[in-house]
Structure formats: C-alpha cells, structure tokens
Symmetry: D2
Subunit: 284 residues, 4 copies
C-alpha cells in the first residue's frame, strides 16, 4: 500500500459531488479506505472526508489535478498525509494534567504528534513532576504590559518550529484577538466547563454555587471570543451534593484530559471541518 | 412491620445530632430501615433523612415528642408516611410526552402518586392520543389579560384537590412570581435544556445554533426566576453534527421524560432537601 | 422533491464501488441527501447506505437498472422508500413498558410504523392499563405441547398482515429455531441485560447476585441462539449497593424501552446492515 | 481539629446500632464529619462508615473502648486515620497506562498513597517512557516453574515495605489461589472488560467478535477465581462498527485507567466494605 492520504473538502451542496470525487480517485488508481460525507440540508452545504490509498499516482499529481475539480465546485479543500505526525506546540500554565496526558499518549504512540515546544507563562518548576523529556520548554511570563511582546514571541516559536497545531492545555491566559486570528483553525483550547453553561473564570465554583448535577468540559477552536469558538468535543459526568468545589476540580481534571485528547486526535486525523460557528466531526 | 415513616430534617451542624436523633428513635422502639446524612462543611449545615419502622409508637406520638428535640436544634423537619401515595396535579401544554410517561409509571405502580388533576392551557384534544382515564382534565386557557384569573383558578383546583405536588410536565407558561411563591417547594418543572446552558425559549434550537456536542434536561423546583430554581436532577446525551433541531427535540423528549420522572420520584420519597439555592438529594 | 429512496448494499470491498454507485445515481438525476459507507478492512467487506431524491427517474427504473450494477459487484442490496411507514407486529407478554413506549412514539409520529398486530401469550387484560386502540390483539397462549401450532398461527398473522418487522417487546417466550429462521433479519428482540453479561432468565437478579455496578439492555436480531443474535444497540447505567433486584427491574424498564425504540428506529430507517454475526449501524 | 479518623463496621442488622455508635462518639467529644449507613434488608446486614474529628480523645482510647461496643454487636470493624497516605505496591506488566495514571495522581497530591514498590514480570525497559522516580522497581520474571518462588518474593517485598494495598495495574499474570488468599481484601485488579461480559484473555477481541456496542472495565478485589472477585467500580462507553480491536484497546486504556484510579481512591478512603461476594461502596 502506498502512503495513505486524507482528502477533506466542503462546498455548496449540489448533485454529483460524491460521484465526481470518487470517480476522480478511482480513475487515478486510488482505493478508498474510509469515507464520510455530510449533506447539511439546513445550510445546503456539503462536507466530505476521504481516506485513500493513492496507488501509483504521486501525491503531487493528485493535488494538482484535484485543484481543477475543486475549482468547479468552489471547494475549500485539503490533501494531507494520513500517517505523518503533526508538529504540535503545547501551551500550559500551572495545572499540567492535560499536558501530562498528551505526552503519555504521544510516548506510547497513541497520538500521532511530534511535540516541538512547550510554552508556559510559569517557570519549568511549576510543572516539576511531569517529565517533558527533550521537548524545548519556553518560559514566557506575561503581564498586561508585556502581552504584545509575549504573544509575538509565541508566534515566533510557532513559526520557527513549524508548529501545525497549538494546543492550549489549560493555558490560563486569554489570547488577544490578533493572536486568536493568527492561529485561527489550528489552535484548540480546553474549556474547563460544559459550554455554554459557565463561561469565564472558576467554572467549577460557579457550578457548585448554582447547584448543578452534572459538570463537563469542552474542547473548541480558539476564536477572538474565547468561550464562543466552534466546539469539537464535549463530555460530562454526574455530581452530587457532597461534591465540594475541590472535588469538582478533581473530577474535572479527568474530563478535561480526555476531552482535550479526543479533540486533538480528531483534529490531527483531519476529522474536524468547520461549518460556520459549528463543526462537522467525522468519527471513524 | 408498622407503617414506615420518613423523617427529614436540616439545621446548623453541631456535635451530637445523629446521636440524639437515632437514640430518640431507638428509645421509642423505632427500627431504622435506611438513613443518610450530609454534613455540609462549607455552610456548616446538617441534613438527614431516616426511613424507619416506628414499632408500636403511634405516628402522632413520635411527631409531638420529636418537636421538642427539633426545637433544641432549631431544625426544619418533616415526618411523612413512606408508602402513602401523594396527590399530584400535572400541568401540561401541547407536548405530552412527560405526562404520558408519568401516567404510565403511575398505572404500573412504579410512581406512588394519585393524579388528582390535569391542567392545560390547551384543550383536551391537544393531547388526544394520551389516555388520561378518569383524571379530571381542566382546560384553562391563558392570555396576558387573563393570567391572574387563570392562576387563581389553578390555585383553587390545587386547594380543592389537596394537591401536594404540582408537576409542570412541559407546561409552556411562565408562572407569575406570586404563583411560584404560592407553590414554593412543591412545584417541579422540567426545563428542556441542560441548565444553565440555554435558558429561555427554544433551547434545542439555541443548542443547534451554538453547535454543542451534548444536550440535556434539568428538573428543578419552581421559583420566581423560572430558570434559576434549585436543580433536583439532570441528565445529558451526546449529539452530532447531523442532528437537526428536530432531531434534538426528539432526543430531548426521552431525556426530559426520564429526568422529570426521576425528580418526581426523588421528591415523593422525601429524598430532596433544600440547601439555599441548591439541593441535597439522598438517593437510596 | 420526489419521494426519497434509501439504497443499502454490501459486497466484497474493491476499488471503485463508491464511484460506480454515486455516478449511477447522478446519471439518473438522483440527488444524495445522506450517505455513509464502511470499508471493513478486517473482513474486506464494503457496506453503503445512500438516501437520495431520485428526481424524475421512476423507482422501478432505478431498481431494474441498479440490478445490473449490483450483479457486477455481487452485492446484497435493497431499495426502499424512506418515508413509507413499515407494517409492524409487536409481541408482548406481561410487561408492556416497551409496547407502551413504542405505541406512544407511533402516535406522536416519531416512529414511522403502522402497527398491524399485537400478539401476546397472555390475555388482553394482562396489559389492561395500556391503550392499544384499534390495533388487532391476538391472544395466543403457548404451552410446550402447543408451541408448534402457536408459532404457525404467529406466522399466519404476520403473513396476513404483511408484517415487515416483528418486534419482541419483552415477549418472554423463546422462539423455536424454525421460527427464528423464518423471521431472520426482520425480528428484533430486547434482551433485558447487557449482553453477553447475563444470558438466560432473570438477568437483573443475576446482576444483583454478582454485585455488578452497571446494568444495561441489548436490542438484537433474533437468531436460533436467542442470546447470540447480532446486536443493534445497547445502553447501560450505573447502579449501587442499595439497588435491590426490584430497583434494578425498575431502572431496567427505562433502559429497555429506549434501547428497543432506538433499535427499531435504526432498523426502520434502513440503517442496520448485517456483517456476519455483527452489525453495521449507519447513524444519521 | 484533631486528626480525623474513619470508623467502618458491619454486623447483623438490629435496632439501635446507629444510636449506640453515634452516642459513643458524641460522649467522647467526637464530631461527625461524614457518615453513611446501609441496612441491607435482603441479607439483614448492617454497614456503616463514619468520618469524625475525635476531639481530645486519643485514637487508642477510642479504639480500645469501641472494642467493647463492637463485641456487643459482633461487628467486623476498623478504625483508620483518614489522612495518612497508604503504602501501596503496584504490579504491572507491559502496558503501563494505569501505572502512569496512578503515579500522576500521586504526584499532584490527588491520591493519598505512598508508592513503596513497583513489581513487574518484565524488565524496567518495558515501561521505559514512564518516570517511576525513586520508587524501587523489582523485575520478577515468572514462568510456570518459577511461579511459586516469584510469588514468595512478591510476598516478601510486600512484607518488607509494609504494603497495605497491592494494585494489579494491568499485571497480566494470574495469582495462585494461595497468593490471592494471602492478599485477600487488600489487592485490587483492573479487569479490562465489563465483567462478567468477557472473562479470560483478550476481552477486547472477544468484544469485537461478538459485535457488542459498548465496552467497559471492572475494578475488583482479587480472589482465587480471578474474574469473580467482588466488584468495586465499573464504567463503560459506546463503540461502533468502525472500531477495530486496536481501537477498542485504545478506548479501553482510558476506561481502565479511570476505573482503577477511582477504585483505589474509594478503597484508600475506606469507602468499600465487603458484603459477601458483593461490595458496599459509600461515596462521599
């Protein structure tokens, strides 16, 4: 088998897209390994993900020839190598459970990532009990006055390392609108709440005060409005009256870790397509 | 075994409450069948529920003698018969899945209720496919101008039927503050959303627009602020990008029915105690 | 829009199937509304479900012309009308929560069924609290000696009513191997257990004895080996030490009702394809 | 506040136990912080857990004086320090996700443990990507011929380190009956299956073959019959037809890690009492 590719695309829905795309691949010797499509009848939009073995046709040939077809349908599209690890920059503050979880999944080969940088507004000692190995650690403290420079430095590191994905793994700083725009579509945040239930700070304390019976977490793309970006994945669990805010924080760690890891996996496998403020998620 | 009783109480926490209450029951020949307590260390409040066989001591004796002990601790308390069906008034609008569900549970003996009235702002035909049997049905239409009279009539029916619990089973009218106050602590609403996520009207459409990946429902006591009453029970389920608002409404029906039924059961079994804007729920 | 159709098919996987099928539909003016495929790489089998608007091409034309394509790939396939209610025979014994649930979903238009018969080994009075309306009720008691005749009568009723689906809604009789074979692929059972956890009789009591912390239910196609048919849907819930067998039975009713209803919906929408002893389930 | 204690007890149920126990504590200046009881009406057994501040009464005084009360009721009982970390020996084979998870929870102070030994039948390199810090690692390979000696050495290490709890964190060796008996009540295993669904080897592959729609994991006390010990905690998740055995293994890792960690937490907090082959679990 040749190196598998993943084609993702979206466009206005009209008859024949599936036929044209699948015929395009078949005519070039491609063999579909997995395919999903979604016809959004409410917005008349079409979304597709195809994982395929390109056979003898070189990737660049497929790319250049598909461009013409894509033009016909005014598609947004992407052709990616399925098995190439993605270069990932992870940002963290003092709570490193999501970081530790991502690193473990990387080390055992579960998450196809190559961590190229860890950035924190706190010094390395703040997460002293986690083994970050040889991954470069950048301590970039931030104050109101230095935020612009700090964010510029973050962009530099992302550029220098060719980071394809930025993961905010409980990075407790709000990105500026410009920074959010710069990383648009390739920056995932874990919001430690079941959005839109409790936005803003200390959501577990808010949840306790309100007396809810479930808590959750939300992984979403970062946009200028931090708590309003397109949601990729959410999960929730039951809680009870005896759960103190501290207990909610403890339970929340588990939910946050697994929701973020799942969102990162879905993104890396090119399974998440944007549909306005919503997402289309093609699970396997 | 004598007829089992349920004692529920709350007061400021201090040493010796459990000892005094359990000794009180033991000295009168009572035998505890089930007991729970909750020491709320954040508010220094104490909550207890005891289900017991009173042996040979008459219920009235226990009630009058316990009053003295309750005074000592400045308790709020209640002594109830465990197995006596509660008289329940159910209010409904056009969607009757919660009503149908409650009636089925009543008919097979699962819910210990005696439905004494069904009140709707729509005529009987609106829920024509549900068999309400011999339960009196009251069609009480409501407009802005007639709301006061309509609510007065609802209170009359509740009084005439000795209704102990009012269940808003998808009753799509907001109670006036006065009405909410009148039924305080004995009126349960099912909010067709995972509070506080989407308050107000059409929460499933809001959820769709926001692109969340889970929906839920919340059963809560009715207070003047309709979406802010103490929550008794919540549940949620995963949804996907292909779920239209109509699909969310369909999935929501199942969640709403079972969340409301569970909240009603917990309330009827005297398992729900108020703790400010929060609830203590003693599951069996 | 013409009347939507659903095409389902399975065959050995090989390159070009998607291209051929989608081109076939496009060339005849068909417009895909929803499509899913599954390439089972472990068994090299291919499964597809396409919901489409056939445009001006008559259904019979599509059917006859697709037959040729299907032959090329040695497909098993089916072309169905999406919105035509399916004729359903429901079998029940003494516990009618699943029956009541299915009938409610039918009455409010949620489940696209036309109930053509209710068959029970108990008399109508056994389910006296459920309104079966005008649906013919057949009391067919069964003993070891009369089982063959009773099953023959069940087949007759199914034939006379053109029942397309037989739902065993807590029908507590084991079908003979011959009967199971006769209804193969169109008979769904709800097993009141999380298969394969507790096969056989009284699974909730078995679960209690074993001290498990979750219970569930399984909807599956009926085969000669009753507890081993292909599973369509399962769900489970947490339980605790205080849950008696009776409480498990109560909690089980809710799980059973919703698991069976979901399986019936999936089947009726042609979303379930057989893959040996397993199923492929194309959710919307 | 003095150092909090936890009293757990079980005995035949009879009137007055709660009164006697709570009065005992009150008379000695004890202040209850949390208390639960369970009257098992099916077996007429009584279970209780009380977390309390002993005030000025020394722990040893409480212990010796309670012994007399315990005798009266023929109780099995234990008096433990709530906040003292428990000495834990962790056994592992090649898959170390549960080990890594437990160590992370220990390092951030979530789990009140003191890891005193890691024992593996594989060399340290097998779990090379996990930082075990200064915890002694014992490589104890085992073959059929050396099993007796290996188990003796495990017992020695447990004795030398005063291990109070032995956690089988995906230790893929079956303990001999004698070894299981030796560690009875203080050895927890994570079974990578939703017991009793798939006992024995390769449960995820069994689950795949059977085509189930949910997988789960079970944490239980080890007994001579490995898959039949009293279950402490279970959880499950939905899977689909596209999940290969490898995907099930991946999803299983998450479930296993959190189910085992929760069971260990419940055990360490003295929240799990044995009730024959079942457990009573007093959640907070």
């Amino acid at each position: 088998m040749a190196e598998p590719l993943v084609l993702t695309l979206s466009c206005a829905d009209r008859p024949g897209i599936t036929a044209r795309v699948s015929s395009f691949l078949f005519e070039r010797g491609g063999n579909i390994l997995e395919a999903q499509q979604f016809n959004d009848r409410l917005s008349d939009a079409f979304f597709m993900r195809v994982e395929f073995d390109p056979g003898d046709t070189p990737r660049d040939t497929i790319r250049s020839e598909f461009a013409a077809l894509a033009d016909t349908f005014a598609m947004e599209w992407k052709l990616a190598q399925r098995d190439r690890p993605r270069r990932v920059m992870i940002m963290v503050s003092k709570f490193d459970h999501c970081l530790a979880d991502l690193l473990y999944r990387w080390r055992i080969g579960e998450l196809p990532i190559e961590p190229v940088a860890i950035v924190s507004n706190h010094p390395r000692e703040a997460i002293g009990h986690t083994d970050t190995g040889a991954i470069p650690f950048h301590h970039l403290p931030v104050t109101r006055d230095t935020k612009a420079q700090q964010e510029a430095r973050v962009r530099e590191i992302a550029a220098e390392t060719d980071a394809e994905l930025i993961v905010l793994a409980r990075y407790m700083q709000i990105l500026s609108d410009a920074q959010a725009a710069h990383f648009a579509g390739r920056c995932i945040n874990i919001h430690h709440s079941f959005l839109p239930g409790f936005k803003g700070a200390k959501p577990y304390h808010q949840a306790y005060e309100r007396g809810v019976k479930m808590i959750g977490a939300s992984a979403h793309y970062v946009t200028a409005d931090l708590d309003e970006g397109p949601i990729i994945h959410q999960d929730a669990e039951s809680i009870g009256h005896a759960d103190t805010p501290d207990a909610l924080v403890r339970k929340g760690r588990d939910i946050e870790s697994r929701v973020l890891a799942e969102a990162v996996r879905l993104h890396l496998e090119e399974r998440v397509l944007l549909n306005g403020q919503r997402t289309v998620v093609f699970r396997g």
